[in-house]
């Protein structure tokens, strides 16, 4: 086709990607609002079945990069936390084509599905003609709209650890309206409290900085502690989080974003009895 390739398999797609500067087209909902030169070529990925899998194995919930939000919402395998975030993305017509891989590759700090992948320490499978590498999603983001992909590389799958995907969780999103709302602030938290001991605690903040904010070294201040010990550590934890959250000024003020982030964080602590 003119200005495009529509391979039916991964091998062909990776071959095209290695030889051309074609832009991968997953669902198109981010791509189609961008101005592109007339000679741009798209690499249409919708025929590649390998990119559409949704499954679970002993360790991971696995989904292909070209799974649409509608497909993920309809799958019994998709963890509730991810479904909660997806249900509040855009509207049905967009969810019918938009993909989770496109959401990540667009590298927006407002990407709602990517926030869930971040808080669950999801791994990203990246493939090129030369092989496969698997990286934590937090290593993928270099800045706003910038992602650590080499020429010829394609995001193929996401591996969300089962021991993160199904923990008690909170998901919050502030938008300007109910539908078609782009996040002004978003928050996700997961926690594991067994017999009064905090064995896992993770938080992530979206739409407040150039990249989604995830600070595992700060969340670690609470891990391994009893609830009572965590109450003692709470002040230091909140102070350090307050220091690390430096929101950008956008359509809403940085001060507002900061206040909302801290409110969500304090609510999440309170939900866990801290």
């Amino acid at each position: 086709m003119v200005n495009g390739y529509a391979p039916s398999g991964m091998r062909e797609a990776l071959d095209i990607l290695s030889k051309t500067s074609a832009i991968p087209y997953a669902g198109g909902t981010d791509l189609m609002i961008q101005e592109v030169p007339a000679d741009t070529n798209y690499l249409f990925l919708h025929r590649i079945r390998d990119l559409k899998c949704i499954t679970v194995d002993a360790e991971y919930f696995i989904c292909g990069a070209c799974c649409t939000y509608t497909e993920l919402l309809n799958s019994r395998h998709t963890p509730d936390l991810l479904k909660e975030a997806i249900a509040r993305i855009a509207a049905p017509a967009i969810r019918n084509t938009a993909t989770i891989g496109g959401n990540v590759a667009n590298a927006s700090p407002k990407a709602d599905a990517a926030l869930i992948l971040m808080v669950t320490d999801t791994l990203v499978r990246i493939q090129s003609k030369n092989g496969v590498r698997i990286v934590p999603i937090s290593d993928l983001y270099l800045g706003r709209g910038q992602i650590d992909l080499l020429p010829g590389e394609l995001i193929t799958e996401f591996w969300m650890p089962n021991n993160r995907a199904h923990l008690p969780h909170s998901y919050e999103k502030v938008g300007g309206r109910k539908a078609l709302a782009i996040s002004r602030v978003s928050f996700a938290g997961i926690s594991d409290v067994s017999d009064g001991q905090i064995t896992h605690f993770a938080t992530a903040f979206g739409a407040v900085s150039d990249v989604i904010i995830r600070r595992p070294e700060l969340d670690a201040l609470l891990i391994g502690k009893s609830i009572e010990e965590a109450k003692v550590a709470k002040e230091e934890y909140l102070a350090k989080m307050d220091e690390t959250l430096v929101p950008i000024q956008g359509r809403v003020s940085a001060a507002y974003r900061k206040a909302v982030c801290m409110n969500f964080l304090e609510d999440f602590l309170a939900k866990n009895g801290i």
């Binding site: 003119v2 087209y25 198109g28 249409f44 509207a91 017509a93 967009i94 084509t97």
Partner: protein
Amino acid sequence: MKNEIRFFLNEKEVVYTGSATARLLDVLRNEFELTGVKCGCKEGECGACCVLLNDQLVNSCMVAMGFVDGGIVVTIEGYRKTNQFRVLDKAFATTAAVQCGYCIPGMILAAESILSRNPHPTAETIREGISGNLCRCTGYNAIVKAIEIAANEGEGLW
């Protein structure tokens, strides 16, 4: 490599030979003269350009032609020949759900998308189903009511 994109448009197989990066919206309106597909925002905000692609509601402004190759597209011009349309048409008239009419082709196809998945939707399900279709005239209540009436009147069609 073939330089054509083939797809079914309102039940007829058609061939498009232009750029695969072109918007489905522009091709439908400009090449196939299907002007029932309305152009509103060109960024997936308004739903005026909604069509059915492989039985799913999509914003045609956010679909590149290469994505349509081998697919099945139904616009309001094709859908209006169906029995389901006749029921929706009558229901929308009953509640005066059409004022300026600009959003209505998208709204009707959104209604089809709702009813084909859930023949007896709640008002909440209908509102969720049309949440990507903006109407600046009616305030939505008449549209929601019309879809509820269509669900009842069209028993067995969906």
